[in-house]
């Protein structure tokens, strides 16, 4: 039961950024779904015997390699012009082309922010979340937050000040999670 729960949590945590990464790499929606699915399946196959060794790179780094390979496979299958960086199958497994590296990092950053916001929503008062989300995630000026929700600008400031450390802590926890 614990394994099922953990697996469901893993799936929920990683499927979306894998899909988003594959889309940004240039795949269609259905191909991107396949990449996400295949990557997760690959992890599932390897996990029973997997021993995490930080010296060999992070779990996410390993995930990145698998996902990148899957993206490359899909380009080959569709006979599309393969990005040059993926053309050489003899690239070392741990090496990821710089442009895909950037895409991957951006997607993970975005994913962590979303996850952190979701966790924040569970942790604090909905109104505080609403104010913080509007000001910090959507970059509304304080006056707009004040006008839209009928609170003084000072109150917006206080709420932001209280919530920001909680949010940053959640973000830090996500970044440090090995899996």
């Amino acid at each position: 039961m614990e394994d099922r729960v953990a697996w469901a949590s893993f799936y929920e945590s990683y499927w979306k950024p894998l899909f988003a990464f594959a889309r940004r790499a240039g795949l269609s929606e259905s191909d991107a779904e396949d990449v996400a699915q295949e990557t997760v399946m690959k992890v599932a196959q390897r996990l029973p015997g997997f021993v995490y060794d930080p010296a060999k790179g992070s779990f996410r780094g390993w995930l990145k390699t698998i996902a990148t390979r899957r993206v490359a496979d899909h380009f080959r299958t569709s006979n599309r012009r393969l990005p040059a960086a993926l053309a050489d199958e003899k690239e070392p497994v741990i090496a990821v082309p710089p442009e895909l590296e950037k895409l991957w990092d951006e997607e993970w950053q975005r994913h962590w922010l979303e996850l952190a916001l979701q966790r924040l929503k569970q942790r604090i008062n909905p109104f505080h979340y609403q104010v913080f989300y509007s000001h910090s995630a959507r970059n509304w000026p304080m006056e707009e937050v004040s006008r839209t929700f009928g609170v003084k600008a000072g109150t917006v400031h206080v709420i932001h000040h209280r919530v920001k450390p909680i949010f940053e802590e959640l973000l830090r926890e996500l970044r440090e999670e090995p899996a």
Binding site: N125, P126, F127, H128, Y129, Q130, Y133, S134, R138, W140, E144, V145, R147, T148, F149, G150, V151, T155, V158, I159
Partner: protein, 667 residues
Amino acid sequence: MRMNSIPAIPLLPEHELFKPIGRGSYGEVWLARTITGQWRAVKIVRRENFEEAKSYDREFAGVSHYSGIAMQQPGLVQMYLVGRNDAEGFFYYTMELADDVGSGQDVEPTSYSPRTLASRLHTIGTLTVGQALLLGEQLALALDHLHSHGLLHRDVKPANIVYVQGQAKLADPGLMSLVDMTASNGTVSTVGTHGYVPMDGAGTPAADLFAVGKVLHEALSGKDCMSFPEFDAPNEALRAINPVLHKACAPDAASRYQRASDLAQDLTTVRTGQATLHIDEDGKISYAMTSRRKWMIAGSTAAVATLIAGTVWWQRNDRRAKAQRAAVKLPDPATKPPAVIATNPPPVKTEPEAISFLPIMPGYARLGAAHAMDAAKKDTAIRYEWGQWEPEWTAPGKYKDTAGMAMGHNHTVCLCADGTVAAHGFNSDKQCDVPKGLDSVVAVAAGELHSLAMTATGRVVPWGFEVVIDAGKWITDAVAIAAGGLHNLVLRANGQIVTWGRADSGQCTLPNFDGRRARAIAAGRYHSVALMADDTVVCWGAGSSETITGMHLRQSMVPKKLENVQAIAAGDFHTVALCMDGSLVIWGDPAAEQCKIPVGLGLVEAIAVGANHNVVLQRDGQLRIWGDNNFKQLATPGAVQAQLMSSSANLLQICAGGNRSAALMKG
């Protein structure tokens, strides 16, 4: 629960089934037609989809119970027929068919797809705050009706809110009686859609209201139901409704709305500007009533629970009454006349007598509209308004001189001396945003959330809430206009009446005039009035029978043998007729002050009627106002009284609407 992937077409008596059009809880919904050619939605509920027979029987009992009560509440999809076929293992029920997503009420079976809130949001993105407030009220009142009869909906979501003749209705209830839910100690399976169900489950009235809050947030934000309470774009209009959403969707069950009538009431107070809800920095919600009021909510043992929007009065015997908000019937777009249009047959083709139409705007004193226009052009007309005023309403600007006024429920529309229009007051639905370039206007009218103007060429221009359509393309001979709660009347030069808008109380169902023509029109909040060319009066809409319930307070029951009428006016629940001899005849709510003739009332020259009060100008120059005074709408300003004492000719026009009164004076 198992669902057949390919349902076999069931055989139903007197119905032809065309195709499945949806899947609901426990069964599928079919497009069907009766042997008389009426389109219906038919839901087939199959026994095989239930784990236990008693669950199947419970569902049937709930549906049977629902069919009887749904007809009393316009916000619920009506059921026509419930049937059962135990041999084949299903029961079924026939319902109103939702409008087609593209063609409205023109049903083409091969392409039919039901119009729902989900499809509407997919097309338009979001609703305005005004639209969301009204939708929320309708849903809350519909749920209040269900809950008061011991039923829950359990699956409120945009896909289950359908539009029937333009009106939003709750559909596909996963019904279960409250008694059953309690007795089962929550062990029965609960339906509901993830995202619309609170953490504590779907089996309570508060859970239905939680879902309404989620729906409204989704409709306002354009985001999915899991994103509450996020908004991506600032919008000051959200300020009023945001606290209501937070209360409906509070994580703590005890902090949420427990009764649908409370949710409806809060949405109404916000929509009508009667009160302001606030959230403090800790997320607690409080109320700032904009003026001292008492709410009257009437419960009826026959249990149609309704709510009076923005009006309070105490009956002499302390009987409480509640007026039901109902949805607007949206007409088709302007490429053709609206679907709900009603026009009485044209008069018999004999040599027509000239019709003596009334002045095109009511309330003018004896010297008439021309006198008022003259004063306005000479810069000597002064407008006085008193009664309800809320600080968040749009204040009057520096208008060019006012030649005439119309007062809606919470806003005022002014006809200016140069034929342009200006408006001020509550502006939730842009009812004060006069269309650019509008000129050559000769009359204005104001409803609850919308405004009308009539031009010198006989065109009618509406703006504001969704009753708006461009009537200019097909009405070119208007001689008078009237705006009711959410419906409109237009009088044409040949004496025909044209009407469209909210139709739930029959206010747009023209009666048989027997070929007679009208010479004046008036629109109350839920009823309509015509003064005929033979000086008799016809009423239709709410209050057409002796039975008093909800908003039906006999306001359409014209006294027998009423004749020689020279002017008419209509409020929320009463109607006033001014006879040629200067006497008044009033009918409607029998216990209300405004339906009584005040002692010592002299002969009357002009009448104006608000929601629950009357303003009359006597022939001797005195102004008399009586009825509801909760907003000091009876307190004539000293300046007006002084000018009247100086000369009665100083009063150009009287006006009333909602909880306000006005006088246009010659300075």
